[in-house]
């Protein structure tokens, strides 16, 4: 297994390298002169041409893109991602702080999603084609078609504006997390529930489940010991992939609920064209996502002994 993981990690290196290059090269897409943008932010005024030229020379912006990129990457590796054009803050510090904020919301939301999706998905699959199953399937189909922000708006309207039960927006008090987490959780649970159901149905059809029944096992241990363990592998993968949402994927919900996480930072940066923030965002986001994928693979090998075996064979 270590060999297999090592190989996986080695394969990541070029991917990370190129994603980082793409993150840096985004600056090329930028209409206008990045040097001018940075200077304007620093001086809070229009820079003169001489200032722009000096800045370019100082920061190596006259050099070819590759050279600039290497310099940037070296700095980034040491934790220096530059400063935000808008606020002048250190991007890395800001990113870390916001990451925690986003992670809280994500974990709360995902917990709700899992708590809804797993029991209902399993129930639905075990009672396949029953009335319950059909009702749940219709709800889930409707649910995956409901945009999260629309559901969030409705929740805000009902729970906050009408009933004054919970604060609609903001961050800081424990109650603040409830509505956005519910929005994420409930809308997220729908696809997870569908996945759980289909995955369970797939496994229920497999021969070894029949063997388990033939042993004389009751239905419950058949489901818990034999079906779930295998059926939940894709579900766990999906949950793992959801972790990628921490780094910006919840932008719309975060913006709606004014939750000051990474998504909102990204949207803010995008709407003010804060180039260093956007670059770091893409870089750190992809690094995190790649890391998450690696972790999923690791969990995979733990859950399914066949995987490392196959890798050895292959």
């Amino acid at each position: 297994m270590p060999e297999y993981m090592l190989r996986r990690i080695m394969m990541l290196a070029p991917v990370l390298l190129i994603t980082s290059f793409i993150s840096y090269a985004l600056i090329c897409l930028c209409p206008g002169d990045p040097a001018r943008l940075v200077l304007e932010a620093q001086l809070q005024g229009t820079p003169s041409q001489a200032q722009v030229n000096d800045f370019r020379a100082d920061h190596g912006l006259n050099q070819p893109l590759m050279v600039q990129y290497v310099t940037w990457l070296k700095k980034a590796a040491l934790g220096d991602l530059g400063k935000s054009l808008k606020s002048g803050d250190d991007v890395w510090d800001d990113y870390r702080a916001r990451f925690v904020v986003s992670a809280k919301l994500f974990l709360a939301g995902e917990l709700i999603a899992v708590l809804i999706a797993l029991p209902l998905g399993i129930w639905s699959a075990v009672k396949a084609n029953s009335i319950i199953d059909n009702i749940l399937r219709v709800i889930a189909l409707g649910g995956v078609s409901l945009p999260g922000f629309l559901f969030g708006m409705l929740l805000i309207y009902v729970c906050a504006v009408r009933l004054h039960l919970l604060p609609a927006i903001g961050y800081g008090k424990p109650a603040n997390i409830v509505l956005p987490a519910l929005t994420l959780g409930i809308t997220g649970s729908m696809s997870l529930m569908r996945l759980t159901r289909t995955s369970l149905l797939e496994v229920l059809k497999l021969n070894y489940v029949r063997t388990a029944r033939a042993k004389g096992l009751r239905e419950r241990p058949v489901i818990t010991r034999h079906v779930l363990r295998n059926a939940l592998v894709p579900v766990i993968t999906a949950i793992g992939m959801h972790f990628g949402h921490i780094v910006g994927g919840m932008a719309i919900i975060e913006t709606l609920f004014a939750w000051p996480g990474l998504g909102m930072l990204l949207v803010d940066a995008a709407s003010t064209r804060d180039i260093p923030v956007i670059q770091s965002f893409v870089l750190l986001g992809s690094a995190f996502f790649v890391g998450i994928n690696l972790l999923i693979d690791l969990i995979y090998t733990l859950l399914d002994p066949r995987i490392s075996y196959r890798a050895k064979e292959g």
Binding site: Y208, K215, H226
Partner: protein, 327 residues
């Protein structure tokens, strides 16, 4: 005659699918006595496995079963799912073909055996594991395989694990569904020998499903021939081989004998469109007009049953010497 261990009477199994209803078993009846082996033979797709699985009560939800499956005193078809599950493993156990897919890939071999023991016996986990080790030894698997996962074992080993699982609770009836189909020839022999030996040791009855007449000759006391969901012939092994009655049985034996001149023409009819008359008439060399029109009813003569319009009970004139000699 002693009371049989398992008696299947007029078993009707239908599958309801999107494209219509399929009758996979149409009035199948047979009985297995204590310590007796019944072999079900037939081409693939004729409903052998479905009959076997129906005895275990493991048919998919869209199957409709009618008739009677009587195990000792109990009519299994009248049992609730919970009651039925009490028979499984403890009284009736089953070995499937393709052991690889029938073993849970993420649980070690030993644990899967222990689980079978624990499912039907009140015992601690430790006892179950100890019992599993004994069983493993009994089916001839080396000790170190106990912690291995199914994919780390060879096909023969996997099937031995399956057997160990099936025998974990000393069942009275063992159903083996093509236990050797996916294995190498040498391994096939070992497995059969093992089954044979274990059957004697445990004084089990056995329902063996196979399409290999060699296996039948070796193991069977009684032979049932199925075709398109119908039991065509049910006779003692001697009668079956020396005085094969049904034209389908004879055709089967011809194939085994390597008589290249007479492979069975055509293929098994599709069960969605039931044919009138004898299901085999389209392929039968002896088919007459009556075969096309009327469905033959089972006739029992001298303890052997056949469904054929030609059947009279006396088959001595139709011996197939060449077949016997080839064995």
């Amino acid at each position: 005659m002693r009371k049989p261990l398992l008696e299947v009477k007029d078993l009707q199994i239908k599958f309801e699918t999107k494209r219509g209803t399929i009758a996979v078993s149409d009035g199948v009846s047979f009985a297995i006595g204590e310590n007796e082996t019944l072999c079900l033979v037939g081409e693939s797709g004729c409903g052998k496995s479905v009959v076997a699985v129906s005895i275990m009560g493991l048919l998919p939800a869209h199957a409709r079963v009618a008739g009677e499956i009587r195990y000792r005193e109990a009519d299994l078809l009248q049992c609730s799912p919970g009651e039925w599950s009490r028979f499984r493993g403890r009284e009736i156990a089953m070995i499937f073909e393709q052991p690889m897919s029938c073993l849970n890939p993420v649980i070690s071999a030993g644990r899967q055996i222990a689980e079978a023991y624990a499912a039907n016996n009140r015992c601690s986990k430790r006892e179950a594991l100890a019992e599993a080790r004994r069983k493993l030894d009994e089916v001839g698997i080396p000790e170190n395989c106990f912690v291995k996962f199914p994919h780390e074992l060879s096909g023969g080993m996997q099937q031995r694990v399956m057997i160990a699982i099936a025998l974990a609770c000393r069942p009275n009836l063992l159903i083996a569904d093509e236990p050797t189909a996916a294995l190498d020839v040498t391994v096939q022999c070992q497995i059969l020998e093992l089954l044979h030996c274990l059957k004697d040791r445990y004084r089990m009855s056995m329902l063996l499903i196979t399409h290999d007449l060699g296996v039948v000759a070796e193991m069977a006391d009684t032979v049932g021939v199925m075709y398109a969901g119908t039991m065509m012939e049910l006779s003692g092994v001697e009668d079956f081989f020396y005085r094969p009655g049904h034209p389908y049985s004879r055709a089967l034996m011809n194939v085994v004998a390597g008589n290249a001149l007479s492979p069975i023409r055509g293929s098994v009819p599709h069960l969605l469109e039931p044919v009138p008359g004898c299901p085999f008439h389209a392929r039968c060399v002896d088919a007459v007009e009556q075969c096309r029109r009327a469905r033959p009813q089972p006739r029992i003569v001298n303890g052997r049953m056949e469904r054929c319009h030609h059947f009279t009970g006396d088959n001595s004139g139709r011996q197939l010497d060449q077949m016997v000699s080839s064995r």
